[in-house]
Amino acid sequence: MGMTFAQKVLAKKAGLKTVAVGQIVDVEPDFFLSHDNTAAIAKTFAKLGVEKMKNPERSVVVLDHTVPASTEEYALGHKEIREFVRKQGITHFYDVGVGICHQVLPEKGFALPGFLIVGSDSHTTSYGALGALAAGVGRSEMAALFATSRIWLKTPATFKVEVKGKLADPVTSKDLVLRIIGDLGADGALYRSVEFTGEAVSAMSLASRLVLSNMSVEMGAKNGYCAPDEKTFAFLEGRAVAPYAAVYPDPDAEYERVLAYDASSLVPQVAKPHTVDNVVSVTEVAGTKIHQALLGTCTNGRLEDLRLAAQIMKGKILAKGVRMLVLPASQEVLLAALSEGIYETFVAAGALVLNPGCGPCLGAHQGVLAAGEVCISTANRNFKGRMGSAEAQTYLASPATVAASAIAGEIVDPGLAMKGGRR
């Protein structure tokens, strides 16, 4: 019997020939990610009575959640992190402004095929897009990893999601993953490893695959894998911080479930408040008035996302009463977007352009919502109260739908808007 991707990586890391589904293994991850929560983790680490981290070279610290610091408390947290990083000799440190961790780790060459990466952030699943086994953990676990470099992991069962056909413009991987989450439910892939495959996935850019892997956690999954290919290897050329060997599932691997999708029949999707699995076709919520549009986050703040939104917004201005926030996923994305003239479109349209970072996605700062307000966002969560008031509402959609809706002042089908149909 062959093994799935997750089985193969865990077996390799545990030094075993095979691992069975459900088997618990004690393994050493290749990299550990932490972000602004490193301040709290450092305090927990101190409780262990260990002076020095076991492997500071495996730690990657990215400041992105509350950047730049908007309160004295956040500023103090960042200061403590900088001191901790210096004291521990952590060289892979990315201070405020470099970008969102889930874009920075791929860009800086840490998200590598076949690597085991854990992060104290639920969207650590993102690195599966490059063929890594990547999962989130909590703060205590990160502190323990700092001290021991070891963690227990249970070998997950695997779902295979086969996507045939071609996405029809302007339908994106965001629409696809929202549809899958809508079908499976928020716990549909609980504890599972998910492998995305098929011609539609092969045809996707890495940025589009990152959306699938990023949102795998929203169906409860432990990780979301896309098979590394020439696009992956080309992207990693000159970036990879270490040699790597891609890991692929065996042809006779055992899957708990196989789900089939046809990309060519997919239309734009929207997740309604207040759960990510509350997914409908955009036409069902068309006409919903909005107050804020958010373009960015670790889900959809990459160059192709900004490009798509700008294409829709070019020469247009935001509807009256709508404010729009644009946050690039990283400095690299921002520079590329600037050189393409994308930012001129956003500013001319009346959008507010912000620094690379998580922004208001988690409701900490930079554009939170008041009671009664409605936001359409390219982010990955729309939980009650997440973006501010518990009486606010967030709809999740693709960059195309968000951009078209910001111009219209209400949720619209971006396909119709692009054809010059209903405004």
Binding site: I24, A40, G138, A144, W152, T275
Partner: protein, 163 residues
Amino acid sequence: MIEGRVWKYGDDVNTDVIFAGKYTYKPMTPQEMAQHALEDLDPDFAREVKPGDIIVAGANFGCGSSREQAATCVKASGVAAVVAVTFSRLFFRNAINEGLPVVELAGGTDMIQKGDTVQIDFEKGLVYHKGKSYPFPALPKEVLAILNDGGLIPHVKKQLAKA
């Protein structure tokens, strides 16, 4: 064996309603966190919860963020255990790591209502409710060892002392 009064919730109770994102990067003691526990789900909870109470919920309890405070605030509020049909894997790990017992009743929790009393026998793997008993699977020994040590930090401390 523990016995406690039930707080009952539904499916997909997410980490944002357990412990809001706006608090996640504020330094707080566990007691301060407890004052905001379940704030956007049930404003009565933090005010009225008593030590030893038990949360009973549906499927996918604790879905969403990796924030450990979701488990810390529940534990600090005095809750003795959380019983759910299933847990998100992150909440499950965080709860164990905080020393908060989690019980998976795969058969469902619909029969248990707010204000009921339930008993949990961890050794036998049984939840007792209104004269009936419902089995739950024992935790793997690696996981149980962490819980028995009072959480991951005391567990790792003990291991490091042995090494």
